[in-house]
Subunit: 307 residues, 2 copies
């Protein structure tokens, strides 16, 4: 299962009632945060997202509305007496920005590891069962989208296990992906497990024009969280000039990916009621939703029972 | 007249429903902001305080909860197409902190002038009719309190003006403090104005132990805005250790100054309902008020008519 919370939905500057865009993802006690603008720690608190288990903070790009909340968030983690190391990843240039911002948080109780992603070759990061893949998108400065994937192993075949005369007490080791040694035999998981089943994929991209990379990573995604800075294409020239995407553009991307659902976010401060304009996306991709601050969803594996 | 807005009241970290402590003061179209932690620009927007006319930002000290909102605020001023220069003053060390934080706001449409205040000699700053005096207080790092004073000239004496045979059309020049030349005579304002009348004084001090300096500047202040990190003296040792003040301590300061009113602020995140504990201050100084975010007051000269 993958729990998703869109804690903020604004672009450019935080507004009363609209936090800056950020996404909190949680699976099996591990958490990932994407972007951290001014006020993100308040947005997370308001949405009930716990700071302590954040393993990884992914930064899309180093504009202030995506990074300026980092010192405050890290200080609050510090005040929770965190000792576990934290990884922050983002595009080239992140180190210099963090070096500047962290002047107000010079000492922390935990280590911060930095990973600058060039985007030239595919790289993976992980947080518990989540595999995170950054990919380059197209903004005015280097910018990354992120794919979050929770994989799922194949189905365990008890019939095969019995044929191999494996005692029941070792079944769970194999189900969890470990090999075992019984007598002279090495038993590997693939001997008792079916082929990997479909996992859960969420793709996040803001501050970008539509790109092939978003289309590639978004293919068959369960959820795409995409920027919709303007509600229609009346300001398309402005969106192009500043490296942003409109509602219809984001919806067209989601449609071309065959995504399960689209959440729009990163609204212009001039867009006061995104929900009122959602038809501009739905007429292109029916499963479009106007994201709102604190919006949550638990994504389940296809045959997970709903509790 | 001096309009005061306590836009935030929190200490340490911003909370849902409680912005970090900051004070916005406005007089005759000029504004001063004291402190700017994470989210202060949202607090100001929520309280209806206009960013554009801010002439001066006064920083008490360089802990994150008092400065981390500066890049966001300055970028938002920039997006309002501000061109007027802005002055930021604060204690020694402010330059280095700003140099770090402003890495996410490298280009602004206006000049920022920095004034580091050593506190060794008395210095004044001004914003329109407001005269701002920083004074040293006692925290774990260099920290300043601020006195805001709006002076008031003496009463104009038309009888004296007539005796001097001054034409009515020049009276307003003298009332506004300018000298005039008539024939061979130089007429100075003091020749037609009575002695200066009592002005309006607001004194602001957070993140400090009680000090003689607060007592000196707070004497007969119309309003004192003081920290009350804890509601009673049960945690006095902790307050002393970390350089803070409790409700009873702030109230005792206000009482010893003969202040008109005390607003408490800079509450610990552990203090969820300051209003419920206000008696701890009122029993020492009856005109104590538990500050809340967005609290406003228009302070008038003693004989101003209330509109």
């Amino acid at each position: 299962m993958l729990d998703i919370c869109l804690a903020g939905t604004g672009g450019m500057k935080p507004l009363p009632g609209r936090w800056l865009t950020c996404l909190y993802a949680r699976s099996e006690g591990h958490s990932v945060l994407i972007d951290c603008g001014e006020g993100t720690q308040i947005a997370l608190a308001e949405a009930g997202c716990n700071l302590k288990p954040i393993d990884l903070i992914c930064i899309t790009h180093v504009h202030a509305d995506h990074v300026a909340g980092l010192p405050g968030l890290l200080l609050s983690m510090n005040n929770c007496e965190r000792t576990e190391p934290l990884t922050i990843c983002g595009p080239a240039g992140l180190y210099q920005i963090l070096q500047g911002l962290m002047v107000v948080a010079p000492e922390l109780s935990f280590d911060v590891m930095l990973s600058e992603i060039s985007g030239e070759t595919e790289q993976f990061l992980s947080a518990g069962p989540m595999r995170i893949t950054p990919f380059p998108v197209k903004h005015r400065i280097p910018c990354l989208g992120y794919s979050l994937y929770v994989g799922r192993s194949g189905r365990f075949d008890p019939q095969k296990a019995r044929e191999l005369k494996l005692p029941v007490k070792v079944w769970s080791h194999l189900q969890n992906g470990s090999s075992i040694e019984i007598g002279q035999r090495i038993i590997t998981p693939d001997m008792v497990m079916g082929p990997p089943r479909r996992g859960i994929r969420v793709v996040y991209a803001t501050d970008t024009r539509p790109t092939e990379s978003i289309r590639d990573y978004g293919r068959s995604a369960d959820l795409m969280v995409l920027e919709g800075i303007y509600p229609d294409n009346a300001k398309l020239d402005k969106a192009k000039e500043w490296g942003h995407m409109t509602f219809p553009e984001a919806a067209a991307l989601a449609a071309s990916c065959g995504a399960g659902e689209l959440w729009l976010t990163h609204y212009s401060p001039s867009l006061t009621d995104p929900e009122a304009q959602i038809e501009n996306a739905r007429c292109v991709f029916p499963n479009s939703v106007a994201g709102y601050c604190g919006m949550k969803k638990s994504l389940r594996f296809p045959d997970d029972p709903v509790k």
